[in-house]
Symmetry: C2
DNA sequence: TCATTGTATCATTGTATCCTGATATATGTC
DNA sequence: GACATATATCAGGATACAATGATACAATGA
Protein backbone atom coordinates (compact mmCIF):
# COMPACT_ATOMS: atom_id res chain seq x y z
CA UNK A 1 0.00 0.00 0.00
CA UNK A 2 2.97 2.28 0.44
CA UNK A 3 4.25 1.30 -2.97
CA UNK A 4 0.93 2.16 -4.54
CA UNK A 5 1.11 5.60 -2.98
CA UNK A 6 4.57 6.06 -4.38
CA UNK A 7 3.36 5.13 -7.85
CA UNK A 8 0.48 7.56 -7.45
CA UNK A 9 2.90 10.29 -6.44
CA UNK A 10 5.05 9.57 -9.45
CA UNK A 11 2.08 9.82 -11.79
CA UNK A 12 0.99 13.06 -10.17
CA UNK A 13 4.51 14.40 -10.55
CA UNK A 14 4.42 13.72 -14.27
CA UNK A 15 1.13 15.54 -14.65
CA UNK A 16 2.37 18.32 -12.42
CA UNK A 17 5.48 18.85 -14.49
CA UNK A 18 3.55 18.67 -17.73
CA UNK A 19 0.82 21.08 -16.66
CA UNK A 20 3.05 23.55 -14.87
CA UNK A 21 3.89 25.59 -17.96
CA UNK A 22 1.53 27.55 -20.27
CA UNK A 23 3.23 26.40 -23.46
CA UNK A 24 2.94 22.77 -22.43
CA UNK A 25 -0.72 23.26 -21.50
CA UNK A 26 -1.40 24.68 -24.95
CA UNK A 27 0.40 21.78 -26.58
CA UNK A 28 -1.59 19.23 -24.61
CA UNK A 29 -4.87 20.95 -25.36
CA UNK A 30 -3.97 21.00 -29.02
CA UNK A 31 -2.90 17.35 -29.11
CA UNK A 32 -6.23 16.40 -27.60
CA UNK A 33 -7.66 17.17 -31.03
CA UNK A 34 -5.18 14.88 -32.80
CA UNK A 35 -1.51 14.41 -33.65
CA UNK A 36 0.63 17.42 -34.47
CA UNK A 37 3.98 18.38 -35.95
CA UNK A 38 6.25 20.97 -34.30
CA UNK A 39 6.30 23.22 -37.32
CA UNK A 40 2.51 23.32 -37.43
CA UNK A 41 2.18 23.82 -33.70
CA UNK A 42 4.45 26.80 -34.13
CA UNK A 43 1.69 28.52 -36.10
CA UNK A 44 -0.82 27.99 -33.33
CA UNK A 45 1.31 28.65 -30.28
CA UNK A 46 3.19 31.88 -29.72
CA UNK A 47 6.76 30.87 -28.97
CA UNK A 48 10.06 30.10 -30.63
CA UNK A 49 11.03 26.87 -32.33
CA UNK A 50 13.71 25.87 -29.80
CA UNK A 51 11.37 26.56 -26.92
CA UNK A 52 8.55 24.55 -28.44
CA UNK A 53 10.94 21.71 -29.15
CA UNK A 54 12.13 21.77 -25.58
CA UNK A 55 8.60 21.63 -24.19
CA UNK A 56 7.68 18.77 -26.51
CA UNK A 57 10.71 16.93 -25.24
CA UNK A 58 9.61 17.60 -21.68
CA UNK A 59 6.14 16.21 -22.35
CA UNK A 60 7.67 13.11 -23.88
CA UNK A 61 9.92 12.75 -20.85
CA UNK A 62 6.85 12.90 -18.62
CA UNK A 63 5.31 10.13 -20.67
CA UNK A 64 2.30 12.15 -21.77
CA UNK A 65 3.19 12.27 -25.45
CA UNK A 66 4.99 10.03 -27.89
CA UNK A 67 6.96 11.05 -30.94
CA UNK A 68 7.71 9.35 -34.21
CA UNK A 69 9.82 10.57 -37.07
CA UNK A 70 8.11 10.77 -40.45
CA UNK A 71 10.60 11.82 -43.05
CA UNK A 72 12.07 15.06 -41.87
CA UNK A 73 9.16 15.82 -39.65
CA UNK A 74 8.30 14.35 -36.25
CA UNK A 75 4.78 13.46 -35.30
CA UNK A 76 3.72 14.06 -31.71
CA UNK A 77 0.59 12.67 -30.13
CA UNK A 78 -0.90 11.93 -26.73
CA UNK A 79 0.53 8.72 -25.30
CA UNK A 80 -2.78 6.88 -24.98
CA UNK A 81 -6.55 7.17 -25.44
CA UNK A 82 -6.78 6.68 -21.69
CA UNK A 83 -4.77 9.80 -21.16
CA UNK A 84 -6.83 11.73 -23.70
CA UNK A 85 -9.98 10.85 -21.78
CA UNK A 86 -8.48 11.75 -18.44
CA UNK A 87 -7.33 15.13 -19.73
CA UNK A 88 -10.71 15.71 -21.27
CA UNK A 89 -12.32 15.02 -17.90
CA UNK A 90 -9.86 17.30 -16.17
CA UNK A 91 -10.49 20.35 -18.31
CA UNK A 92 -14.23 19.98 -17.91
CA UNK A 93 -14.06 20.27 -14.13
CA UNK A 94 -15.51 23.47 -12.79
CA UNK A 95 -13.38 24.91 -10.04
CA UNK A 96 -14.87 27.58 -7.86
CA UNK A 97 -12.96 30.77 -7.29
CA UNK A 98 -12.26 31.32 -3.65
CA UNK A 99 -13.78 34.77 -3.19
CA UNK A 100 -11.60 35.38 -0.16
CA UNK A 101 -8.53 35.20 -2.31
CA UNK A 102 -9.74 36.18 -5.76
CA UNK A 103 -7.69 39.36 -5.61
CA UNK A 104 -4.49 37.57 -4.72
CA UNK A 105 -2.17 35.45 -6.74
CA UNK A 106 -3.13 31.83 -6.82
CA UNK A 107 0.25 30.89 -5.44
CA UNK A 108 1.90 31.47 -2.07
CA UNK B 1 -15.28 28.10 -28.93
CA UNK B 2 -12.24 30.22 -28.19
CA UNK B 3 -13.68 31.06 -24.81
CA UNK B 4 -14.07 27.40 -24.00
CA UNK B 5 -10.41 26.86 -24.77
CA UNK B 6 -9.50 29.71 -22.47
CA UNK B 7 -11.57 28.17 -19.67
CA UNK B 8 -9.88 24.85 -20.32
CA UNK B 9 -6.48 26.51 -20.12
CA UNK B 10 -7.43 28.14 -16.86
CA UNK B 11 -8.50 24.83 -15.36
CA UNK B 12 -5.30 23.18 -16.54
CA UNK B 13 -3.31 26.00 -15.01
CA UNK B 14 -4.94 25.40 -11.65
CA UNK B 15 -4.11 21.72 -11.79
CA UNK B 16 -0.63 22.49 -13.03
CA UNK B 17 0.07 24.84 -10.17
CA UNK B 18 -1.42 22.45 -7.63
CA UNK B 19 0.47 19.40 -8.88
CA UNK B 20 3.80 21.12 -9.51
CA UNK B 21 5.08 20.70 -5.95
CA UNK B 22 5.77 17.48 -4.03
CA UNK B 23 4.26 18.76 -0.78
CA UNK B 24 1.06 19.76 -2.55
CA UNK B 25 0.89 16.39 -4.28
CA UNK B 26 1.17 14.65 -0.92
CA UNK B 27 -1.54 16.87 0.53
CA UNK B 28 -3.89 16.13 -2.35
CA UNK B 29 -3.26 12.40 -2.15
CA UNK B 30 -3.95 12.53 1.57
CA UNK B 31 -7.14 14.59 1.21
CA UNK B 32 -8.44 12.04 -1.28
CA UNK B 33 -8.93 9.80 1.75
CA UNK B 34 -10.95 12.44 3.61
CA UNK B 35 -10.75 15.86 5.27
CA UNK B 36 -7.66 16.82 7.19
CA UNK B 37 -6.32 19.39 9.64
CA UNK B 38 -2.95 21.09 9.17
CA UNK B 39 -1.60 19.90 12.50
CA UNK B 40 -2.43 16.30 11.64
CA UNK B 41 -1.06 16.57 8.12
CA UNK B 42 2.15 17.76 9.70
CA UNK B 43 2.60 14.29 11.21
CA UNK B 44 2.23 12.62 7.82
CA UNK B 45 4.16 15.02 5.63
CA UNK B 46 7.77 15.94 6.22
CA UNK B 47 7.87 19.73 6.21
CA UNK B 48 7.52 22.73 8.49
CA UNK B 49 4.28 24.24 9.72
CA UNK B 50 4.63 27.53 7.80
CA UNK B 51 5.47 25.69 4.62
CA UNK B 52 2.51 23.35 4.93
CA UNK B 53 0.23 26.27 5.65
CA UNK B 54 1.52 28.05 2.59
CA UNK B 55 0.88 25.06 0.36
CA UNK B 56 -2.61 24.59 1.74
CA UNK B 57 -3.27 28.23 0.97
CA UNK B 58 -1.98 27.67 -2.55
CA UNK B 59 -4.29 24.70 -3.09
CA UNK B 60 -7.22 26.75 -1.85
CA UNK B 61 -6.25 29.56 -4.21
CA UNK B 62 -6.24 27.07 -7.08
CA UNK B 63 -9.74 26.04 -6.08
CA UNK B 64 -8.83 22.42 -5.42
CA UNK B 65 -9.49 22.49 -1.69
CA UNK B 66 -11.79 24.36 0.64
CA UNK B 67 -11.19 25.30 4.23
CA UNK B 68 -13.44 25.86 7.16
CA UNK B 69 -12.57 26.91 10.65
CA UNK B 70 -13.67 24.59 13.45
CA UNK B 71 -12.81 26.05 16.77
CA UNK B 72 -9.13 26.74 16.71
CA UNK B 73 -8.50 24.26 13.98
CA UNK B 74 -9.18 24.56 10.27
CA UNK B 75 -10.58 21.70 8.26
CA UNK B 76 -9.32 21.25 4.72
CA UNK B 77 -10.97 19.02 2.14
CA UNK B 78 -11.11 18.52 -1.61
CA UNK B 79 -13.40 21.07 -3.22
CA UNK B 80 -15.84 18.57 -4.73
CA UNK B 81 -16.58 14.87 -5.21
CA UNK B 82 -16.13 15.52 -8.92
CA UNK B 83 -12.59 16.59 -8.28
CA UNK B 84 -11.92 13.61 -6.04
CA UNK B 85 -13.00 11.29 -8.82
CA UNK B 86 -10.94 13.08 -11.44
CA UNK B 87 -7.83 12.91 -9.25
CA UNK B 88 -8.51 9.27 -8.55
CA UNK B 89 -8.67 8.62 -12.29
CA UNK B 90 -5.49 10.60 -12.86
CA UNK B 91 -3.35 8.69 -10.38
CA UNK B 92 -4.49 5.38 -11.80
CA UNK B 93 -3.21 6.19 -15.28
CA UNK B 94 -0.21 4.16 -16.33
CA UNK B 95 2.36 6.27 -18.10
CA UNK B 96 5.07 4.54 -20.05
CA UNK B 97 8.66 5.49 -19.44
CA UNK B 98 10.29 6.74 -22.59
CA UNK B 99 13.31 4.41 -22.70
CA UNK B 100 15.19 6.85 -24.90
CA UNK B 101 15.15 9.38 -22.13
CA UNK B 102 14.89 7.31 -18.99
CA UNK B 103 18.40 8.34 -18.00
CA UNK B 104 17.68 12.03 -18.32
CA UNK B 105 15.72 14.38 -16.20
CA UNK B 106 12.08 14.49 -17.10
CA UNK B 107 12.36 18.20 -17.78
CA UNK B 108 14.25 20.17 -20.39
C1' DT C 1 27.68 17.04 -52.85
C1' DC C 2 25.28 21.15 -51.81
C1' DA C 3 21.25 23.55 -50.38
C1' DT C 4 16.92 23.53 -47.99
C1' DT C 5 13.68 22.30 -44.60
C1' DG C 6 12.52 20.54 -40.09
C1' DT C 7 13.92 19.55 -35.49
C1' DA C 8 17.01 19.24 -31.48
C1' DT C 9 20.65 20.86 -28.35
C1' DC C 10 23.59 24.14 -25.90
C1' DA C 11 25.11 28.14 -22.82
C1' DT C 12 23.55 32.15 -20.81
C1' DT C 13 20.56 35.20 -18.44
C1' DG C 14 16.46 36.49 -15.99
C1' DT C 15 12.67 35.29 -13.16
C1' DA C 16 9.59 32.65 -10.38
C1' DT C 17 9.06 29.56 -6.73
C1' DC C 18 10.30 27.19 -2.61
C1' DC C 19 12.06 26.95 2.08
C1' DT C 20 13.28 28.80 6.51
C1' DG C 21 13.01 31.29 10.97
C1' DA C 22 10.67 34.78 13.14
C1' DT C 23 6.47 36.80 14.11
C1' DA C 24 1.53 37.70 13.91
C1' DT C 25 -3.34 36.37 14.33
C1' DA C 26 -7.17 33.53 16.05
C1' DT C 27 -9.57 30.58 19.23
C1' DG C 28 -10.19 28.40 23.49
C1' DT C 29 -9.01 27.65 28.60
C1' DC C 30 -7.74 28.87 33.27
C1' DG D 1 -6.59 39.12 31.42
C1' DA D 2 -2.83 35.70 30.86
C1' DC D 3 -1.61 31.59 28.65
C1' DA D 4 -1.59 27.68 25.37
C1' DT D 5 -2.71 25.77 21.03
C1' DA D 6 -3.51 26.09 16.07
C1' DT D 7 -2.81 28.43 11.94
C1' DA D 8 -1.24 32.22 8.96
C1' DT D 9 1.95 35.72 7.21
C1' DC D 10 6.36 37.95 6.25
C1' DA D 11 11.28 38.93 4.64
C1' DG D 12 15.42 36.68 3.14
C1' DG D 13 18.27 33.72 0.56
C1' DA D 14 18.85 29.54 -2.39
C1' DT D 15 17.45 27.02 -6.24
C1' DA D 16 15.10 25.50 -10.28
C1' DC D 17 12.93 26.69 -14.39
C1' DA D 18 11.91 29.02 -18.81
C1' DA D 19 13.31 31.92 -22.69
C1' DT D 20 16.70 33.36 -25.99
C1' DG D 21 20.11 33.25 -29.77
C1' DA D 22 23.39 30.47 -31.83
C1' DT D 23 24.44 26.19 -33.52
C1' DA D 24 24.14 21.25 -34.50
C1' DC D 25 21.84 17.31 -36.45
C1' DA D 26 18.62 14.78 -39.71
C1' DA D 27 16.31 14.00 -43.99
C1' DT D 28 15.08 15.21 -48.57
C1' DG D 29 15.75 16.89 -53.25
C1' DA D 30 18.55 19.21 -56.98
Amino acid sequence: MRLMTSAALDTLERFGTALADPIRRQILLRLMTGPGYPNDLLDEIDTTQPNLSNHLSCLRGCGLVTSQREGRRVRYELASPNLAHALSDLVSIELEIDSNHADLDRRS
